[in-house]
Protein backbone atom coordinates (compact mmCIF):
# COMPACT_ATOMS: atom_id res chain seq x y z
CA UNK A 1 0.00 0.00 0.00
CA UNK A 2 2.77 2.39 0.97
CA UNK A 3 4.57 1.61 -2.27
CA UNK A 4 1.49 2.44 -4.27
CA UNK A 5 1.04 5.83 -2.59
CA UNK A 6 4.71 6.71 -2.97
CA UNK A 7 4.57 5.68 -6.57
CA UNK A 8 1.56 7.84 -7.22
CA UNK A 9 3.21 10.83 -5.60
CA UNK A 10 6.40 10.90 -7.51
CA UNK A 11 4.75 9.96 -10.75
CA UNK A 12 2.61 13.05 -10.38
CA UNK A 13 5.55 15.28 -9.70
CA UNK A 14 7.39 13.81 -12.66
CA UNK A 15 4.37 14.17 -14.88
CA UNK A 16 4.05 17.78 -13.88
CA UNK A 17 7.73 18.43 -14.55
CA UNK A 18 7.77 16.65 -17.85
CA UNK A 19 4.58 18.40 -18.92
CA UNK A 20 6.19 21.76 -18.19
CA UNK A 21 9.37 20.81 -20.01
CA UNK A 22 7.37 19.52 -22.93
CA UNK A 23 5.54 22.81 -23.13
CA UNK A 24 8.77 24.77 -23.09
CA UNK A 25 10.33 22.55 -25.75
CA UNK A 26 7.22 23.05 -27.88
CA UNK A 27 7.66 26.78 -27.45
CA UNK A 28 11.32 26.45 -28.44
CA UNK A 29 10.37 24.56 -31.59
CA UNK A 30 7.78 27.22 -32.32
CA UNK A 31 10.42 29.89 -31.80
CA UNK A 32 12.81 28.17 -34.20
CA UNK A 33 10.01 27.83 -36.71
CA UNK A 34 9.14 31.51 -36.37
CA UNK A 35 12.77 32.57 -36.65
CA UNK A 36 13.49 30.57 -39.78
CA UNK A 37 10.24 31.31 -41.56
CA UNK A 38 10.55 34.98 -40.67
CA UNK A 39 14.05 35.17 -42.08
CA UNK A 40 14.08 32.57 -44.80
CA UNK A 41 12.83 33.13 -48.25
CA UNK A 42 9.89 30.89 -48.92
CA UNK A 43 11.13 30.10 -52.40
CA UNK A 44 12.45 26.69 -53.21
CA UNK A 45 15.90 26.53 -54.70
CA UNK A 46 17.80 24.13 -56.92
CA UNK A 47 21.48 23.77 -57.81
CA UNK A 48 22.86 25.18 -61.04
CA UNK A 49 26.20 25.82 -62.74
CA UNK A 50 27.25 29.33 -63.62
CA UNK A 51 28.66 28.59 -67.09
CA UNK A 52 30.76 31.76 -67.01
CA UNK A 53 32.59 30.56 -63.91
CA UNK A 54 32.99 26.95 -65.03
CA UNK A 55 36.58 25.95 -65.73
CA UNK A 56 35.71 22.69 -67.48
CA UNK A 57 37.78 20.63 -65.04
CA UNK A 58 35.72 17.48 -65.62
CA UNK A 59 34.72 16.90 -61.99
CA UNK A 60 31.01 17.19 -62.82
CA UNK A 61 31.28 13.82 -64.55
CA UNK A 62 32.67 12.09 -61.48
CA UNK A 63 31.48 13.91 -58.35
CA UNK A 64 27.70 13.71 -58.79
CA UNK A 65 26.04 11.23 -56.46
CA UNK A 66 24.23 9.77 -59.44
CA UNK A 67 26.10 7.12 -61.30
CA UNK A 68 25.47 9.01 -64.52
CA UNK A 69 25.92 12.66 -63.61
CA UNK A 70 22.94 15.02 -63.65
CA UNK A 71 25.25 17.52 -65.35
CA UNK A 72 24.98 17.48 -69.10
CA UNK A 73 26.29 19.55 -71.93
CA UNK A 74 23.75 21.97 -73.39
CA UNK A 75 23.97 24.02 -76.54
CA UNK A 76 23.02 27.64 -76.92
CA UNK A 77 22.46 27.42 -80.65
CA UNK A 78 22.27 31.17 -81.25
CA UNK A 79 25.85 31.53 -80.01
CA UNK A 80 27.10 28.77 -82.29
CA UNK A 81 28.97 29.47 -85.52
CA UNK A 82 27.73 26.18 -87.03
CA UNK A 83 31.35 25.55 -87.97
CA UNK A 84 32.37 22.75 -90.26
CA UNK A 85 35.53 22.27 -88.19
CA UNK A 86 34.00 22.34 -84.76
CA UNK A 87 36.64 22.36 -82.04
CA UNK A 88 34.12 20.98 -79.61
CA UNK A 89 33.31 18.06 -81.85
CA UNK A 90 36.65 17.12 -83.40
CA UNK A 91 39.88 16.00 -81.84
CA UNK A 92 42.74 18.41 -82.47
CA UNK A 93 44.11 17.56 -85.93
CA UNK A 94 41.43 15.08 -86.93
CA UNK A 95 42.18 12.66 -89.77
CA UNK A 96 39.11 13.71 -91.62
CA UNK A 97 36.15 15.95 -90.86
CA UNK A 98 33.71 13.08 -90.55
CA UNK A 99 31.79 11.36 -87.80
CA UNK A 100 34.28 8.51 -87.32
CA UNK A 101 34.83 7.81 -83.62
CA UNK A 102 38.58 8.42 -83.74
CA UNK A 103 37.95 11.99 -84.85
CA UNK A 104 35.51 12.81 -82.09
CA UNK A 105 36.36 14.56 -78.86
CA UNK A 106 33.31 13.21 -77.09
CA UNK A 107 34.19 9.90 -75.38
CA UNK A 108 30.62 8.61 -75.60
CA UNK A 109 29.57 9.96 -78.98
CA UNK A 110 26.93 12.09 -77.36
CA UNK A 111 27.54 15.11 -79.56
CA UNK A 112 25.65 14.67 -82.81
CA UNK A 113 26.77 16.47 -85.96
CA UNK A 114 24.22 17.05 -88.68
CA UNK A 115 24.55 18.83 -91.99
CA UNK A 116 22.31 21.83 -92.53
CA UNK A 117 23.69 23.50 -95.65
CA UNK A 118 27.13 24.24 -97.00
CA UNK A 119 29.21 25.06 -94.93
CA UNK A 120 27.04 24.85 -91.84
CA UNK A 121 26.68 21.94 -89.45
CA UNK A 122 24.48 21.77 -86.39
CA UNK A 123 25.66 20.13 -83.18
CA UNK A 124 23.11 18.69 -80.78
CA UNK A 125 23.52 16.66 -77.61
CA UNK A 126 22.18 13.17 -77.21
CA UNK A 127 21.53 13.67 -73.53
CA UNK A 128 21.25 10.06 -72.31
CA UNK A 129 24.80 9.47 -73.60
CA UNK A 130 26.36 12.65 -72.23
CA UNK A 131 28.39 12.13 -69.04
CA UNK A 132 29.11 15.80 -68.36
CA UNK A 133 32.88 15.48 -68.82
CA UNK A 134 33.15 18.92 -70.45
CA UNK A 135 35.67 17.83 -73.08
CA UNK A 136 33.56 19.36 -75.85
CA UNK A 137 32.88 22.43 -73.70
CA UNK A 138 36.61 22.98 -73.34
CA UNK A 139 37.21 22.61 -77.07
CA UNK A 140 34.36 24.96 -77.89
CA UNK A 141 35.25 27.57 -75.30
CA UNK A 142 38.98 27.64 -75.97
CA UNK A 143 38.87 27.81 -79.78
CA UNK A 144 35.25 28.53 -80.68
CA UNK A 145 32.34 30.68 -79.54
CA UNK A 146 31.75 28.86 -76.29
CA UNK A 147 28.21 27.94 -77.16
CA UNK A 148 28.52 24.47 -75.62
CA UNK A 149 28.40 24.57 -71.84
CA UNK A 150 27.42 22.50 -68.83
CA UNK A 151 24.13 22.68 -66.97
CA UNK A 152 22.56 20.62 -64.22
CA UNK A 153 19.58 18.91 -65.79
CA UNK A 154 16.71 19.02 -63.33
CA UNK A 155 14.86 16.01 -64.68
CA UNK A 156 17.80 14.05 -63.23
CA UNK A 157 19.15 16.11 -60.33
CA UNK A 158 18.16 14.84 -56.89
CA UNK A 159 18.57 18.33 -55.40
CA UNK A 160 20.78 17.05 -52.58
CA UNK A 161 20.96 19.17 -49.49
CA UNK A 162 24.60 19.85 -50.26
CA UNK A 163 25.51 19.27 -53.88
CA UNK A 164 28.58 17.07 -53.88
CA UNK A 165 29.78 18.55 -57.17
CA UNK A 166 29.50 22.03 -55.66
CA UNK A 167 31.71 20.83 -52.83
CA UNK A 168 34.32 19.61 -55.30
CA UNK A 169 34.08 22.45 -57.83
CA UNK A 170 37.40 24.33 -57.89
CA UNK A 171 35.81 27.46 -59.33
CA UNK A 172 32.88 27.66 -56.89
CA UNK A 173 30.67 27.77 -59.98
CA UNK A 174 27.72 25.81 -58.56
CA UNK A 175 25.18 27.77 -56.61
CA UNK A 176 21.52 27.65 -55.67
CA UNK A 177 18.95 29.21 -57.96
CA UNK A 178 15.23 29.84 -57.52
CA UNK A 179 13.31 26.76 -58.64
CA UNK A 180 11.10 28.75 -60.98
CA UNK A 181 14.20 29.79 -62.99
CA UNK A 182 16.29 26.67 -62.69
CA UNK A 183 18.60 27.15 -65.70
CA UNK A 184 21.42 29.53 -66.43
CA UNK A 185 22.18 29.31 -70.12
CA UNK A 186 24.93 31.21 -71.81
CA UNK A 187 23.97 33.93 -74.24
CA UNK A 188 25.76 36.36 -76.53
CA UNK A 189 24.95 39.08 -74.07
CA UNK A 190 26.73 38.22 -70.86
CA UNK A 191 24.84 39.57 -67.90
CA UNK A 192 27.16 40.62 -65.10
Amino acid sequence: MRVAVAKGEFMNRRNFLSGGLRGSLLLTLGGVLGAVTGKAKARNTVWQIDPWKCTMCGRCATECVLELSAVKCVHTFDMCGYCQLCTGYFEPDPNKLNTAAENQLCPTGALVRSFIEDPYYEYTINEPLCVGCAKCVKGCTMFGNGSLHLQIRHDRCLNCNECSIARACPADAIHRMPADHPYQFKSRERKT
Binding site: L21, D78, R190
Partner: protein, 419 residues
Protein backbone atom coordinates in the same frame (compact mmCIF):
# COMPACT_ATOMS: atom_id res chain seq x y z
CA UNK B 1 24.84 45.36 -67.03
CA UNK B 2 25.23 43.36 -70.20
CA UNK B 3 28.40 43.01 -72.16
CA UNK B 4 28.70 41.40 -75.54
CA UNK B 5 30.96 38.39 -75.44
CA UNK B 6 33.71 38.21 -78.04
CA UNK B 7 32.67 35.78 -80.76
CA UNK B 8 35.30 34.12 -82.85
CA UNK B 9 32.84 32.99 -85.48
CA UNK B 10 29.81 34.84 -86.81
CA UNK B 11 26.38 33.27 -86.63
CA UNK B 12 25.39 31.21 -89.66
CA UNK B 13 23.62 32.82 -92.57
CA UNK B 14 21.44 30.21 -94.13
CA UNK B 15 20.60 30.86 -97.77
CA UNK B 16 19.57 27.48 -99.19
CA UNK B 17 17.44 26.31 -96.29
CA UNK B 18 15.14 28.06 -93.87
CA UNK B 19 16.65 26.32 -90.85
CA UNK B 20 15.43 27.75 -87.59
CA UNK B 21 17.89 27.77 -84.69
CA UNK B 22 16.66 25.49 -81.93
CA UNK B 23 16.67 26.63 -78.30
CA UNK B 24 18.04 24.56 -75.44
CA UNK B 25 15.38 22.56 -73.66
CA UNK B 26 14.52 23.22 -70.03
CA UNK B 27 13.38 19.98 -68.39
CA UNK B 28 11.11 20.64 -65.41
CA UNK B 29 12.44 20.27 -61.90
CA UNK B 30 11.64 16.72 -60.90
CA UNK B 31 12.98 16.86 -57.35
CA UNK B 32 10.45 19.36 -56.00
CA UNK B 33 7.37 17.27 -56.74
CA UNK B 34 9.04 14.28 -55.15
CA UNK B 35 9.93 16.39 -52.13
CA UNK B 36 6.25 17.19 -51.59
CA UNK B 37 5.53 13.47 -51.72
CA UNK B 38 8.33 12.92 -49.20
CA UNK B 39 6.59 15.22 -46.74
CA UNK B 40 3.36 13.26 -46.97
CA UNK B 41 5.17 9.95 -46.59
CA UNK B 42 7.20 11.27 -43.66
CA UNK B 43 4.19 12.42 -41.68
CA UNK B 44 2.23 9.27 -42.50
CA UNK B 45 5.12 7.01 -41.50
CA UNK B 46 5.67 8.90 -38.24
CA UNK B 47 2.01 8.61 -37.31
CA UNK B 48 1.86 4.95 -38.30
CA UNK B 49 4.97 3.99 -36.33
CA UNK B 50 3.78 5.94 -33.28
CA UNK B 51 0.52 4.03 -33.40
CA UNK B 52 2.22 0.68 -33.98
CA UNK B 53 4.62 1.18 -31.08
CA UNK B 54 2.35 2.68 -28.48
CA UNK B 55 -1.08 1.35 -29.34
CA UNK B 56 -0.67 -1.80 -31.36
CA UNK B 57 2.56 -2.80 -29.57
CA UNK B 58 3.66 -4.58 -32.71
CA UNK B 59 7.32 -5.16 -33.44
CA UNK B 60 6.41 -6.78 -36.73
CA UNK B 61 4.52 -3.69 -37.84
CA UNK B 62 7.43 -1.42 -36.93
CA UNK B 63 9.81 -3.61 -38.93
CA UNK B 64 7.44 -3.56 -41.91
CA UNK B 65 7.20 0.24 -41.92
CA UNK B 66 10.96 0.37 -41.33
CA UNK B 67 11.70 -1.73 -44.40
CA UNK B 68 9.42 0.51 -46.41
CA UNK B 69 11.28 3.56 -45.12
CA UNK B 70 14.67 2.10 -46.02
CA UNK B 71 13.42 1.36 -49.51
CA UNK B 72 11.62 4.68 -49.95
CA UNK B 73 13.73 7.27 -48.15
CA UNK B 74 16.93 5.28 -48.52
CA UNK B 75 17.29 3.45 -51.76
CA UNK B 76 14.72 5.28 -53.86
CA UNK B 77 15.10 8.85 -52.59
CA UNK B 78 18.82 8.28 -52.00
CA UNK B 79 18.72 9.30 -48.33
CA UNK B 80 18.54 13.04 -48.95
CA UNK B 81 17.05 15.36 -47.62
CA UNK B 82 17.15 13.81 -44.15
CA UNK B 83 16.34 15.04 -40.70
CA UNK B 84 19.89 14.52 -39.45
CA UNK B 85 21.32 16.79 -42.09
CA UNK B 86 18.53 19.35 -41.70
CA UNK B 87 20.13 20.54 -38.45
CA UNK B 88 22.78 22.22 -40.56
CA UNK B 89 20.22 24.01 -42.71
CA UNK B 90 18.57 25.33 -39.58
CA UNK B 91 21.88 26.49 -38.15
CA UNK B 92 22.78 28.21 -41.39
CA UNK B 93 19.36 29.77 -41.89
CA UNK B 94 19.35 31.11 -38.35
CA UNK B 95 22.82 32.60 -38.64
CA UNK B 96 22.59 33.90 -42.20
CA UNK B 97 19.39 35.69 -43.13
CA UNK B 98 20.09 35.52 -46.87
CA UNK B 99 19.97 31.73 -46.67
CA UNK B 100 16.63 30.19 -47.56
CA UNK B 101 15.13 27.20 -45.83
CA UNK B 102 13.08 25.02 -48.16
CA UNK B 103 9.79 23.66 -46.87
CA UNK B 104 10.96 20.06 -47.14
CA UNK B 105 13.93 20.75 -44.88
CA UNK B 106 11.74 22.63 -42.43
CA UNK B 107 9.33 19.74 -42.08
CA UNK B 108 12.04 17.07 -41.98
CA UNK B 109 13.75 19.02 -39.23
CA UNK B 110 10.74 19.76 -37.05
CA UNK B 111 8.17 16.97 -37.56
CA UNK B 112 10.17 14.13 -35.95
CA UNK B 113 10.98 16.37 -32.96
CA UNK B 114 7.33 17.30 -32.61
CA UNK B 115 6.32 13.65 -32.73
CA UNK B 116 9.03 12.81 -30.20
CA UNK B 117 7.54 15.33 -27.77
CA UNK B 118 4.33 13.33 -27.75
CA UNK B 119 5.09 9.78 -28.87
CA UNK B 120 8.81 9.20 -28.29
CA UNK B 121 11.35 8.36 -30.93
CA UNK B 122 9.04 6.86 -33.53
CA UNK B 123 11.28 8.44 -36.13
CA UNK B 124 14.28 6.34 -35.06
CA UNK B 125 12.18 3.19 -34.82
CA UNK B 126 10.81 2.97 -38.30
CA UNK B 127 11.15 6.12 -40.37
CA UNK B 128 14.85 7.03 -40.44
CA UNK B 129 16.43 4.86 -43.15
CA UNK B 130 19.84 5.12 -41.46
CA UNK B 131 18.47 3.76 -38.22
CA UNK B 132 16.36 1.01 -39.69
CA UNK B 133 19.21 -0.20 -41.89
CA UNK B 134 21.33 -0.71 -38.76
CA UNK B 135 18.38 -2.21 -36.92
CA UNK B 136 17.93 -4.82 -39.62
CA UNK B 137 21.53 -6.07 -39.41
CA UNK B 138 21.50 -6.38 -35.62
CA UNK B 139 21.76 -10.14 -35.16
CA UNK B 140 23.97 -10.80 -32.13
CA UNK B 141 23.65 -7.86 -29.75
CA UNK B 142 26.43 -7.51 -27.20
CA UNK B 143 26.11 -5.41 -24.11
CA UNK B 144 28.09 -2.18 -24.08
CA UNK B 145 29.31 -1.42 -20.53
CA UNK B 146 27.43 1.50 -18.99
CA UNK B 147 30.51 3.72 -18.58
CA UNK B 148 31.46 3.22 -22.23
CA UNK B 149 27.90 3.75 -23.39
CA UNK B 150 27.61 7.02 -21.48
CA UNK B 151 30.96 8.30 -22.73
CA UNK B 152 30.35 7.34 -26.34
CA UNK B 153 26.96 9.02 -26.29
CA UNK B 154 28.76 12.31 -25.67
CA UNK B 155 30.20 12.03 -29.19
CA UNK B 156 26.79 12.78 -30.67
CA UNK B 157 26.64 16.11 -28.84
CA UNK B 158 30.19 16.98 -29.85
CA UNK B 159 29.38 16.06 -33.44
CA UNK B 160 26.31 18.29 -33.25
CA UNK B 161 28.47 21.19 -32.06
CA UNK B 162 31.00 20.70 -34.83
CA UNK B 163 28.30 20.37 -37.49
CA UNK B 164 26.81 23.68 -36.38
CA UNK B 165 30.26 25.33 -36.45
CA UNK B 166 30.84 24.23 -40.04
CA UNK B 167 27.30 25.14 -41.11
CA UNK B 168 27.34 28.67 -39.70
CA UNK B 169 30.81 29.43 -41.02
CA UNK B 170 30.03 28.25 -44.54
CA UNK B 171 32.44 25.33 -44.29
CA UNK B 172 29.95 22.84 -45.66
CA UNK B 173 27.67 20.20 -44.24
CA UNK B 174 29.90 17.69 -42.49
CA UNK B 175 27.01 15.48 -41.40
CA UNK B 176 26.12 14.94 -45.05
CA UNK B 177 29.72 14.67 -46.11
CA UNK B 178 30.60 11.99 -43.57
CA UNK B 179 27.28 10.18 -43.65
CA UNK B 180 28.24 6.49 -43.65
CA UNK B 181 24.99 5.10 -45.05
CA UNK B 182 24.16 7.42 -47.92
CA UNK B 183 26.84 5.80 -50.15
CA UNK B 184 25.09 2.48 -49.48
CA UNK B 185 21.70 3.89 -50.44
CA UNK B 186 23.18 5.43 -53.56
CA UNK B 187 25.27 2.37 -54.34
CA UNK B 188 28.11 4.74 -55.13
CA UNK B 189 30.54 6.94 -53.28
CA UNK B 190 34.19 7.34 -52.43
CA UNK B 191 35.96 4.20 -51.28
CA UNK B 192 36.57 5.60 -47.80
CA UNK B 193 32.92 6.42 -47.26
CA UNK B 194 31.70 3.09 -48.60
CA UNK B 195 34.16 1.26 -46.32
CA UNK B 196 33.03 3.41 -43.40
CA UNK B 197 29.39 2.54 -44.11
CA UNK B 198 30.16 -1.16 -44.43
CA UNK B 199 32.16 -1.16 -41.20
CA UNK B 200 29.32 0.58 -39.38
CA UNK B 201 26.97 -2.13 -40.60
CA UNK B 202 29.43 -4.89 -39.61
CA UNK B 203 29.80 -3.36 -36.17
CA UNK B 204 26.02 -3.02 -36.10
CA UNK B 205 25.67 -6.80 -36.26
CA UNK B 206 26.97 -6.92 -32.68
CA UNK B 207 26.60 -3.40 -31.30
CA UNK B 208 23.02 -2.25 -31.68
CA UNK B 209 22.76 0.79 -33.96
CA UNK B 210 26.21 2.26 -33.35
CA UNK B 211 25.59 5.40 -35.41
CA UNK B 212 22.23 6.17 -33.84
CA UNK B 213 23.43 5.77 -30.29
CA UNK B 214 26.88 7.25 -30.37
CA UNK B 215 27.06 9.66 -33.27
CA UNK B 216 23.70 10.77 -34.55
CA UNK B 217 23.27 14.43 -33.58
CA UNK B 218 19.59 14.40 -34.47
CA UNK B 219 19.09 11.35 -32.30
CA UNK B 220 20.58 13.33 -29.41
CA UNK B 221 18.02 16.09 -29.96
CA UNK B 222 15.21 13.56 -30.32
CA UNK B 223 16.33 12.06 -27.03
CA UNK B 224 15.82 15.38 -25.28
CA UNK B 225 12.36 15.74 -26.79
CA UNK B 226 11.44 12.13 -26.02
CA UNK B 227 12.59 12.42 -22.42
CA UNK B 228 9.50 14.53 -21.73
CA UNK B 229 7.19 12.82 -24.20
CA UNK B 230 3.54 12.64 -23.28
CA UNK B 231 3.15 8.96 -24.14
CA UNK B 232 5.98 6.49 -23.95
CA UNK B 233 7.01 2.90 -24.39
CA UNK B 234 5.82 0.84 -21.45
CA UNK B 235 7.30 -2.62 -21.38
CA UNK B 236 4.35 -4.11 -19.58
CA UNK B 237 0.79 -3.57 -20.76
CA UNK B 238 -0.39 -3.90 -17.15
CA UNK B 239 1.50 -3.40 -13.90
CA UNK B 240 5.12 -4.41 -13.48
CA UNK B 241 5.50 -7.46 -11.27
CA UNK B 242 9.28 -7.06 -11.01
CA UNK B 243 9.75 -10.42 -12.70
CA UNK B 244 12.97 -9.18 -14.33
CA UNK B 245 12.28 -11.04 -17.55
CA UNK B 246 12.72 -7.88 -19.58
CA UNK B 247 16.11 -7.01 -18.07
CA UNK B 248 18.10 -8.29 -21.04
CA UNK B 249 15.44 -7.70 -23.69
CA UNK B 250 16.80 -4.41 -24.99
CA UNK B 251 19.72 -4.76 -27.42
CA UNK B 252 20.55 -1.10 -26.84
CA UNK B 253 20.76 -1.47 -23.07
CA UNK B 254 18.29 1.28 -22.25
CA UNK B 255 16.02 -0.54 -19.83
CA UNK B 256 16.35 1.03 -16.40
CA UNK B 257 16.04 -1.37 -13.54
CA UNK B 258 13.38 -0.87 -10.98
CA UNK B 259 14.66 0.54 -7.72
CA UNK B 260 11.92 -1.00 -5.61
CA UNK B 261 14.11 -3.81 -4.32
CA UNK B 262 17.39 -1.89 -4.50
CA UNK B 263 18.88 -0.58 -1.26
CA UNK B 264 18.62 3.20 -0.79
CA UNK B 265 21.93 4.84 -1.70
CA UNK B 266 23.82 6.86 0.94
CA UNK B 267 22.51 10.37 0.50
CA UNK B 268 25.24 12.46 2.13
CA UNK B 269 27.90 11.21 -0.23
CA UNK B 270 25.62 11.94 -3.18
CA UNK B 271 24.95 15.51 -2.17
CA UNK B 272 28.65 16.27 -1.88
CA UNK B 273 29.26 14.83 -5.31
CA UNK B 274 26.42 16.86 -6.75
CA UNK B 275 27.87 20.02 -5.26
CA UNK B 276 31.33 19.32 -6.68
CA UNK B 277 29.83 18.72 -10.12
CA UNK B 278 27.76 21.89 -9.96
CA UNK B 279 30.96 23.84 -9.32
CA UNK B 280 32.74 21.91 -12.05
CA UNK B 281 30.13 22.79 -14.68
CA UNK B 282 31.13 26.45 -15.22
CA UNK B 283 34.78 25.43 -15.05
CA UNK B 284 34.25 22.95 -17.88
CA UNK B 285 32.33 25.50 -19.94
CA UNK B 286 35.02 28.15 -19.48
CA UNK B 287 37.78 25.64 -20.17
CA UNK B 288 36.01 24.54 -23.37
CA UNK B 289 35.61 28.16 -24.43
CA UNK B 290 39.35 28.71 -24.01
CA UNK B 291 40.43 25.50 -25.73
CA UNK B 292 37.98 26.07 -28.58
CA UNK B 293 39.96 29.15 -29.63
CA UNK B 294 42.96 26.92 -30.30
CA UNK B 295 40.96 24.63 -32.56
CA UNK B 296 39.48 27.47 -34.67
CA UNK B 297 42.49 27.85 -36.96
CA UNK B 298 42.70 24.14 -37.69
CA UNK B 299 38.96 23.91 -38.45
CA UNK B 300 39.13 26.95 -40.74
CA UNK B 301 41.61 25.22 -43.03
CA UNK B 302 38.76 23.06 -44.31
CA UNK B 303 37.03 26.14 -45.68
CA UNK B 304 37.30 26.71 -49.40
CA UNK B 305 38.37 30.34 -49.18
CA UNK B 306 41.03 29.73 -46.54
CA UNK B 307 42.30 26.75 -48.44
CA UNK B 308 42.55 28.75 -51.65
CA UNK B 309 44.19 31.74 -49.91
CA UNK B 310 46.84 29.47 -48.44
CA UNK B 311 47.54 27.94 -51.83
CA UNK B 312 47.73 31.32 -53.54
CA UNK B 313 50.05 32.56 -50.80
CA UNK B 314 52.37 29.61 -51.37
CA UNK B 315 52.28 30.15 -55.12
CA UNK B 316 52.95 33.87 -54.77
CA UNK B 317 55.89 33.19 -52.46
CA UNK B 318 57.24 30.65 -54.92
CA UNK B 319 57.29 27.92 -52.27
CA UNK B 320 55.34 25.63 -54.55
CA UNK B 321 55.52 25.35 -58.30
CA UNK B 322 52.56 24.63 -60.51
CA UNK B 323 48.95 25.53 -59.94
CA UNK B 324 45.78 23.76 -58.92
CA UNK B 325 42.41 23.90 -60.65
CA UNK B 326 41.18 26.16 -57.88
CA UNK B 327 44.08 28.59 -58.12
CA UNK B 328 43.73 28.69 -61.89
CA UNK B 329 40.05 29.43 -61.56
CA UNK B 330 40.80 32.18 -59.07
CA UNK B 331 43.38 33.81 -61.32
CA UNK B 332 41.01 33.63 -64.27
CA UNK B 333 38.47 35.60 -62.24
CA UNK B 334 38.42 39.27 -61.37
CA UNK B 335 39.13 39.09 -57.63
CA UNK B 336 42.42 40.50 -56.39
CA UNK B 337 44.78 38.52 -54.21
CA UNK B 338 44.44 41.04 -51.40
CA UNK B 339 40.67 40.79 -51.32
CA UNK B 340 41.01 37.00 -51.21
CA UNK B 341 43.33 37.29 -48.22
CA UNK B 342 40.90 39.66 -46.52
CA UNK B 343 38.04 37.22 -47.11
CA UNK B 344 40.13 34.37 -45.75
CA UNK B 345 40.94 36.35 -42.62
CA UNK B 346 37.24 37.10 -42.11
CA UNK B 347 36.46 33.40 -42.45
CA UNK B 348 39.20 32.51 -39.96
CA UNK B 349 37.76 35.01 -37.52
CA UNK B 350 34.29 33.49 -37.87
CA UNK B 351 35.78 30.06 -37.22
CA UNK B 352 37.64 31.12 -34.12
CA UNK B 353 34.47 32.65 -32.64
CA UNK B 354 32.36 29.62 -33.55
CA UNK B 355 34.98 27.18 -32.27
CA UNK B 356 35.10 28.95 -28.90
CA UNK B 357 31.35 28.56 -28.49
CA UNK B 358 31.59 24.98 -29.67
CA UNK B 359 34.22 24.36 -27.00
CA UNK B 360 31.97 25.89 -24.38
CA UNK B 361 29.15 23.69 -25.66
CA UNK B 362 31.28 20.57 -25.32
CA UNK B 363 32.17 21.60 -21.78
CA UNK B 364 28.51 22.15 -20.97
CA UNK B 365 27.49 18.80 -22.40
CA UNK B 366 30.16 16.98 -20.42
CA UNK B 367 29.22 18.78 -17.22
CA UNK B 368 25.53 18.07 -17.65
CA UNK B 369 26.29 14.44 -18.41
CA UNK B 370 28.25 14.09 -15.18
CA UNK B 371 25.43 15.79 -13.30
CA UNK B 372 22.80 13.53 -14.80
CA UNK B 373 24.86 10.49 -13.80
CA UNK B 374 25.14 11.80 -10.25
CA UNK B 375 21.40 12.15 -9.82
CA UNK B 376 19.89 8.87 -8.75
CA UNK B 377 16.26 8.49 -9.62
CA UNK B 378 13.94 6.05 -7.96
CA UNK B 379 11.88 3.96 -10.32
CA UNK B 380 8.93 1.82 -9.36
CA UNK B 381 8.98 -0.27 -12.54
CA UNK B 382 11.32 -1.70 -15.09
CA UNK B 383 11.10 0.97 -17.76
CA UNK B 384 12.70 1.88 -21.03
CA UNK B 385 14.73 5.05 -20.59
CA UNK B 386 12.58 7.64 -22.28
CA UNK B 387 15.42 9.60 -23.83
CA UNK B 388 17.44 6.68 -25.11
CA UNK B 389 14.66 4.29 -26.07
CA UNK B 390 14.50 3.92 -29.84
CA UNK B 391 10.89 2.65 -29.76
CA UNK B 392 11.87 -0.52 -31.59
CA UNK B 393 9.23 -2.52 -29.66
CA UNK B 394 11.59 -5.46 -29.06
CA UNK B 395 11.04 -5.53 -25.31
CA UNK B 396 7.27 -6.00 -25.32
CA UNK B 397 7.27 -9.72 -25.81
CA UNK B 398 9.74 -10.28 -22.98
CA UNK B 399 7.01 -9.31 -20.55
CA UNK B 400 4.91 -12.30 -19.45
CA UNK B 401 1.89 -10.06 -19.07
CA UNK B 402 2.19 -9.02 -22.70
CA UNK B 403 2.38 -12.65 -23.71
CA UNK B 404 -0.67 -13.34 -21.62
CA UNK B 405 -2.47 -10.43 -23.25
CA UNK B 406 -1.67 -11.88 -26.66
CA UNK B 407 -2.65 -15.37 -25.56
CA UNK B 408 0.87 -16.75 -26.04
CA UNK B 409 2.55 -19.30 -23.77
CA UNK B 410 4.33 -17.66 -20.82
CA UNK B 411 7.79 -18.97 -19.86
CA UNK B 412 8.69 -19.78 -16.26
CA UNK B 413 10.06 -16.76 -14.40
CA UNK B 414 13.72 -17.06 -13.35
CA UNK B 415 14.40 -18.05 -9.78
CA UNK B 416 14.64 -15.07 -7.48
CA UNK B 417 18.23 -14.24 -6.62
CA UNK B 418 19.69 -11.65 -4.33
CA UNK B 419 20.60 -8.27 -5.76
Amino acid sequence: MAQVVAQRFPPPQFTETSHVLPVPTEPAVRALGLEDLDLVVLIAALALVSWLVLRKRSRRGVVAVGIFSVLYFGFWRKGCVCSIGSIQNFAQALSDSSMGLPLVVLVFGLAPLLFALFFGRAFCAGVCPHGVLQDLVLLKPVKVPAWLDHSLRLLAWIYLGLAVVFAVTGGGYIICQYDPFVPIFRLSGSLTMVLLGVSFLLAGVFVGRPYCRFLCPYGALLGVAASVSKWRVRITPDTCTQCRLCEEACPFGVINKSSVNAPAPPRVHDKRRLLVLLVLLPVLVAGGFGLGGLAGGALARKHRTVNLAERIQLEEAGTVTGTTDASNAFRAGTDSVDSLYAQARAVQHRYSVAARWCGAWIGLVMGLKLLSLAIIRRRPDYEADQARCLSCARCYRSCPQELQRLGLPVPEPPKATNG
